[in-house]
């Protein structure tokens, strides 16, 4: 096996201890290009080109520069070296600022993971940090200049080694509290919760991330085949219409508490329920039958 190239080399420092380490990309996103963009009239592939918005003439790479808009149509130009100068010079050191309990790590900030491996010289200190963190169940926070940007990195033990994950900045993560603000405070208890827990436990199992297959490409290939054979394209099955009976009934049925009735009659008697009406008005025809709410 070809030995991998490090993306970054430097030191990790905790307290007064420092040891040489290197970072390696742990996950790459694979491009699965299923489609190319074509010109419908000629059938040829299209190419991207950068042009001046006023003159329409192509602009070469060297003439493309970053601009910050201060007013409509007025820009401050920032040269790459000026932007680079705002980043502190790199001391090539992942200096651990603090440890935080693993249970408090907010994973929504996670950006990209890197394997953090020791240089031959520093293995003792490295193992000490790894085992110390493992035992204390903590992760470490460090800041350093990575790839010309000042980044916060979360370091944690992983098997024999350590993983360093770059973290997104505070302003890059949307508040979950705001995103979930509109959801009513509904605490589910009693039989409903018990039934749902039961269903979850019947579906408890292992998930093998390595074995997952993307079926989309295959589905597109089938679509293409149908088109080439002149068959009418099969319409996608409409999303399953949510059951119109009340939620507790559906849960009981799902949990197998009551034998599934051969064909549950549509619960027409629920249709006049106030809740359902509001939803129908608010959302249009698609969800009118989506009465999930217990109306009784």
């Amino acid at each position: 096996m070809v030995s991998p190239r490090a993306n970054w080399k430097g030191f990790i420092k905790f307290g007064e201890v420092a040891c040489p380490v290197a970072l390696y990309t742990a996950a790459s996103s694979s491009d699965r290009i299923t489609f190319n963009t074509l010109n419908r009239t000629t059938g040829n592939r299209v190419q991207r080109e950068f042009v001046d918005s006023e003159s329409g003439r192509t602009v070469s790479r060297e003439d493309q520069v970053k601009g910050y808009e201060i007013e409509n149509g007025q820009y401050i130009i920032l040269e790459p070296e000026e932007v680079a100068a705002t980043v502190p010079s790199s001391d090539k050191t992942l200096s651990i600022e603090a440890f935080i309990p693993c249970s408090e790590v907010d994973d929504v900030y996670f950006d990209k993971p890197y394997y953090l491996a020791p240089d031959k010289m520093g293995a003792d200190a490295y193992k000490l940090l790894r085992d110390g963190m493992k035992r204390a169940k903590v992760a470490a926070i460090a800041k350093t200049v990575l790839f010309r940007r000042l980044r916060t990195v979360l370091i944690r033990p992983h098997g024999k080694g350590l993983i360093a994950t770059t973290l997104n900045f505070d302003y890059e993560v949307r508040s979950s509290a705001k995103a979930f603000d509109d959801i009513p405070d509904m605490k589910i208890e009693g039989e409903m919760l018990e039934l749902a827990k039961h269903i979850i436990n019947t579906k408890a199992g292992e998930f093998d991330t390595r074995a997952f297959d993307d079926r989309y490409e295959k589905a597109v290939a089938e679509l293409v085949k149908a088109k080439l054979e002149g068959r009418t394209l099969p319409k996608r099955k409409a999303a399953p219409k949510p059951k119109t009976s009340d939620l507790l009934e559906v849960l009981r049925e799902s949990a197998g508490v009551v034998a599934a009735r051969p064909k549950p009659a549509p619960a027409t008697r629920n249709r006049g329920a106030a809740r359902g009406k509001t939803a129908a008005v608010a959302k249009g025809s698609k969800t009118t039958s989506a009465q999930q709410r217990r109306t009784g």
Partner: protein
């Protein structure tokens, strides 16, 4: 909530189904945003598509997706046709497996989204699924088509909502053994463990979003302000960055650790 949903569909557990909507958990909108300019004319630079053979500009309306059948042989597919891709996971998140949260290692997490009910009729069903997962300390595993790829996803309850994570594909996570192979199996020296434990304990704090503040963003804004005032006459700042001396490899870890713990003790508790 002002943000437009990125996806709308259904969340399904066995026979329970509810309409849901999903928004990205990350956003670029608060970042200092730059536009690309033509240095000479100071006009904005825009991208456009040209025909790779004729070199002529292609109208937006004439752009169409092509599925490659062979060399220079494409089957044109319109968006409406693609709507018919017969995969349930384009519209429905059917949770088929539940697993304890710690079974999905952090390294598999790719992109986070927030999942919420999309209609009052589904709120109770949504809450049932969320609360049952929370009560059992489980996450849900399912599939979802996003940007014309079918992704494995993980659903994790969070407060009143659910965080939906896309998980990386198997071949996207590199095999760690290659990188950690040179580390020997022996654990760290037992004699040093009490000291490192002490150091960690002294430096352990609570998580805070303050840890992910970005001082550079402030600096950029200051720079822009300066240039704005200097009104076009800003000379080039000259700051060749010279790397500081790298810390030497500490030979005696034990000594260094002792010093660290002493230093921590002197500066007092955090």
């Amino acid at each position: 909530m002002a943000l437009r949903p990125y996806w709308k569909g259904y969340l399904k557990l066995s026979l329970v189904t509810c309409p849901v909507q999903m928004t990205p958990a990350t956003s670029e909108s608060e970042k200092v945003r730059f536009h690309t300019l033509n240095r000479k004319a100071q006009h904005r630079v825009v991208s456009r598509y040209i025909d790779s053979v004729t070199g002529e500009e292609v109208d937006d309306g004439d752009e169409v997706k092509g599925y490659q059948r062979g060399e220079n042989d494409y089957v044109l597919l319109e968006d409406e046709e693609l709507e018919n891709v017969a995969l349930e996971s384009t519209k429905t998140i059917d949770i088929n497996v539940f697993t304890p949260r710690d079974r999905i290692e952090w390294i598999w997490l790719d992109t986070p989204y927030y999942l919420a009910p999309d209609d009052p009729v589904g709120e109770e069903a949504f809450s049932v699924i969320r609360d049952a997962m929370a009560a059992e300390n489980m996450v849900g595993i399912s599939r979802l088509v996003i940007s014309r790829r079918e992704r494995a996803i993980m659903l994790e309850p969070r407060d009143k909502g659910i965080v939906l994570w896309t998980l990386r594909y198997g071949d996207e996570v590199r095999d760690e053994t290659v990188y950690f192979d040179s580390i020997d199996e022996a654990p760290a020296e037992a004699a040093m463990m009490p000291l490192i434990q002490q150091l960690i304990k002294k430096q352990t704090v609570h998580w805070s979003p303050k840890m992910v503040e970005d001082p550079i963003q402030e600096k950029l804004l200051e720079l822009i302000e300066l240039k704005k005032r200097a009104a076009k006459k800003a000379g080039k700042t000259n700051s060749k960055s010279k790397p500081d001396a790298a810390p030497g490899n500490v030979i005696n870890i034990m000594d260094a650790l002792r010093k660290s713990v002493e230093a921590e003790t002197r500066t007092g508790k955090r």
